[in-house]
């Protein structure tokens, strides 16, 4: 597989029409090496998985409406929350922004014709689909009941569910992540347009770069961990199961060595998306560009050294707990820096409130709540009380759903005109953004209180005095479900009935806006040359506009 040079001599014949017109057969999609078409293949796939995981979440919330559990079966409930976690983490949150928006936008932002390894990119999608299919198979034949965390020796010996099949599915999908990360790293190193120096790159590219480093370094650890779980379960080799001489804490160390960086794998792309949207709709360069950029890089580095904070009550040593507590506070500093810089970007801006901006502002608010509650669980004695309760569930959903999913929808709306060549209905999009924000808070805020009161997570039934808060949470989930179905409806509608989009409907500054919407297969008719830093909004951009 050879790298595509940044400057491709453009043949006249290739410039006709957009990438969407370039072939209408099934093969022209399934065998494409065009990063833009692969991004759409991924978009379809992750949307599918998002709704599978969403249905599981809906059933979980349905069960918890009554204290004894509406579904009446703990076994079913356990399989549902495991399915929710497995599908959402590995088949939506981890890949969502990188493989859809990243895949589509990275080469365009770089001024390149494609990613460095177009065929590897297609292969990554097939790996993702294969991994997803095996995991879905595991769910269809009966599911898994260990939680997405697969703690040993429950997963290796005691669970009577399809642990091996699910582990193999995630194992396969992991290689898709690794290949994607590798592809992005090489592309960003090798395919930048003339004049696009590192410090002229949009923050989104920096985020994708940091994320890719995490994908490449952390995912192999997950792969080997799941492989060991599989071997232990099948052959009792004695790695994790104390009954045959293994150590269950070893599993937790290995698992969180991947899964903590994975939290940042999920949220770094969100940072990147929001760092594009806020300057565009404030019509100002991002405040403290270099701080925002290096905050991403330091998060990527420090996130490898905080895994132990998942184990403060697990039976690790006092010294390790103290070390991991202080490192966890350190990793929160760059995140705080980012929040302040986004606010600084708004200062003296000319702020427009189109749907992407509403999602981005929602992201800042919800991520801040997720972030400050992270300070609670990083404080050792507080974590002893709060860990394994609904407080933790609320905390990470504020980061993952309030943060990452808001950013994903923001980015999807922001680049939708570029991807499809159509404008989405602005009013509906604003309404959806608002409903999503309200539904989200109603779903997850009560869970902070439940957690403080001591309600453990992963309980199929619970004491009756927790019911009111649980009903509130389930009511919020209903609103949230509506909010997620809305974009599915109006974005699909816009594919046919949406107004044609101009090349740069937001009057944004990235290279991706310097080519038609939707872009031609070769991306740029002439290789663009970069002469300024990112977010160079001229005075003319400050006029009012009505999209």
């Amino acid at each position: 597989m050879s790298a595509v040079p940044a400057t491709v001599p453009v043949k006249r014949g290739e410039t006709e029409g957009s990438y969407l017109e370039d072939g209408h057969t099934l093969a022209s999609w399934l065998l494409t090496t065009d990063h833009k078409r692969i991004a759409l293949l991924y978009l379809g796939s992750i949307t599918f998985f998002f709704f599978i995981g969403g249905i599981a979440a809906a059933l979980v919330r349905l069960n918890l409406i009554v204290p004894q559990g509406l579904l009446g079966s703990a076994e079913t409930y356990n399989r549902l929350f495991t399915m929710h976690g497995v599908v959402m983490v590995w088949f939506f949150l981890v890949p969502a922004v990188p493989v859809t928006l990243g895949n589509f936008v990275i080469p365009l932002m770089l001024g390149a014709r494609d990613l460095a390894f177009p065929r590897l990119n297609l292969f990554s999608w097939y790996l993702f689909i294969a991994g997803g299919a095996v995991t879905l198979w595991a769910l269809l034949v009966g599911g898994v009941d260990t939680g997405w965390t697969f703690y040993t020796p429950l997963s290796t010996g005691y669970s009577k569910s399809h642990v091996v099949l699910a582990a193999v599915g995630i194992f396969i999908a992991g290689f898709s992540s690794i290949a994607t990360g590798l592809n992005f790293i090489v592309s960003i190193h090798r395919l930048r347009a003339p004049g696009l120096t590192w410090y002229r790159m949009p923050v989104f590219l920096w985020s994708m770069y940091s994320l890719s480093v995490l994908l490449v370094l952390a995912t192999p650890v997950l792969a080997i961990t799941l492989l060991l779980v599989t071997l232990e379960r099948l052959f009792h080799i004695g790695v994790f199961d104390p009954a045959v001489g293994g150590d269950p804490l070893l599993f937790q160390h290995l698992f969180w060595f991947y899964s903590h960086p994975a939290v940042y794998i999920m949220i770094l792309p969100g940072f990147g998306v929001v760092s594009e949207i806020i300057p565009t709709f404030a019509r100002k360069p991002i405040f403290g560009y270099k701080f925002v950029v290096w905050a991403s890089v330091s998060i990527a580095v420090i996130s490898f050294f905080v895994w132990g904070h998942h184990m403060f009550v697990a039976g690790t040593s006092l010294y390790s707990a103290i070390l991991f507590s202080i490192l966890s506070y350190l990793v929160a500093v760059p995140s705080a820096i980012k929040v302040f810089n986004w606010i600084g970007t708004l200062h003296k801006g000319h702020i427009e409130f189109d749907a992407p901006m509403l999602y981005a502002l929602g992201f800042v608010g919800l991520f801040t709540i997720g972030g400050v509650t992270g300070l609670w669980v990083a404080a050792l004695a507080a974590d002893v009380h709060l860990t394994q309760t609904y407080f933790v569930v609320a905390h990470f959903h504020y980061i993952m759903v309030g943060g990452m999913v808001s950013a994903f929808f923001g980015g999807l709306h922001y680049w939708w005109p570029k991807i499809t060549g159509r404008l989405y209905p602005e009013m509906w999009a604003r309404v959806a953004a608002l409903i999503m924000f309200i539904g989200f808070n109603l779903t997850f805020f009560p869970q902070f209180v439940l957690g403080y009161l001591g309600m453990p997570r992963r309980y199929a039934s619970y004491p009756p005095d927790f019911q009111v808060l649980n009903v509130l949470s389930s009511a919020g989930a209903t609103i949230l479900a509506v909010a997620y179905l809305l974009p599915l409806a109006y974005l699909t509608w816009s594919l046919i009935y949406g107004k044609r989009a101009a090349a740069n409907p937001w009057r944004a500054t990235g290279l991706e806006w310097r080519t038609p919407s939707p872009p031609p297969t070769v991306n740029f008719l002439e290789t663009p040359v970069v002469t300024t830093g990112p977010y160079a909004f001229g005075a003319g951009d400050r006029m009012h506009h009505h999209a």
Binding site: S325, Y329, A379, H385, L453
Partner: protein, 314 residues
Amino acid sequence: MMLSLPRASENAAEVDHLLWALLIISAAVLALVMALLLRYIVKYRASSEFDRGAEAQKSWRFESAWTAATLLIFLGLFVWGARLYVRLFDPPRDALTIYVIGKQWMWKVEHIGGQREINSLHVPVGRAILLVMTSEDVIHDFSVPAFRVKHDVLPDRYETLWFTPTRVGTYRLYCTQFCGVDHAKMHGEVVVMSPPAFERWLAQNGGAGDLAREGRAVFLRFGCGGCHVGTAGEGSATVPAPSLAGLYGSPVPLAGGGVVVADERYLHDSIVDPGREVVAGYEPIMPSFAGQIGEEDIVKLVAYIKSLAPGERP
């Protein structure tokens, strides 16, 4: 609806103070972020004719200021959280030891006096309680929100948890580490009683028994004295093994170098995995008793070994 959680231990009040501080700091940060956000999006909305003047350019000063402020607050929280946490590793010497065994899906409790209970734990108020905990199968977690404590309960290992109850009452006990199908059923209650009431409870629930005495029976049944001569006085010295009298709490020099204190964990591990920490000067010939002696019997054995004063031959 219950919107408050009882504070029933010394630790609970102190953890709540920390949580209050966290709540105030979180609310202040959130208020600051929201206030700035709302102020800017109103004041600098595109349709506003407000004169922007020159943009704030010098970002170094701002960046170092908020980085330093953030770091300082974070360090304070770290120190506060860590100070309370350190104590959880340092139970008072006179704490009352109670053994807890988790299994799918129940809690079994054994008192030193031989009293047993399932899914409940009776303790006297005002006295430090040290739980020595292990699991018969998967990982569980012993959690009492009213005391603001929890700790994982691992198979093949002893973990400890201690607290001093300060209020008489009945409090919830949960398993908070997902442990399989009926995880949500693995809950119970902690009953904190006045000392006289607790004594009465002990007397009414098999006070005749004695965990150490039962442990001696296990010791004899498995023929431990055959090798560990000088412990209970029986058997003949065919194999040299260290005496167990006065062992508990004393430093043990290891064959591989280093010294460990013979606590519950060491005694437990030396029964199920004797090759791990061999006493200096002895051959690693003791067979593992893992799977042969149940955790409940090991608890009795440990209680028996603990009861042996130096040189004692019952």
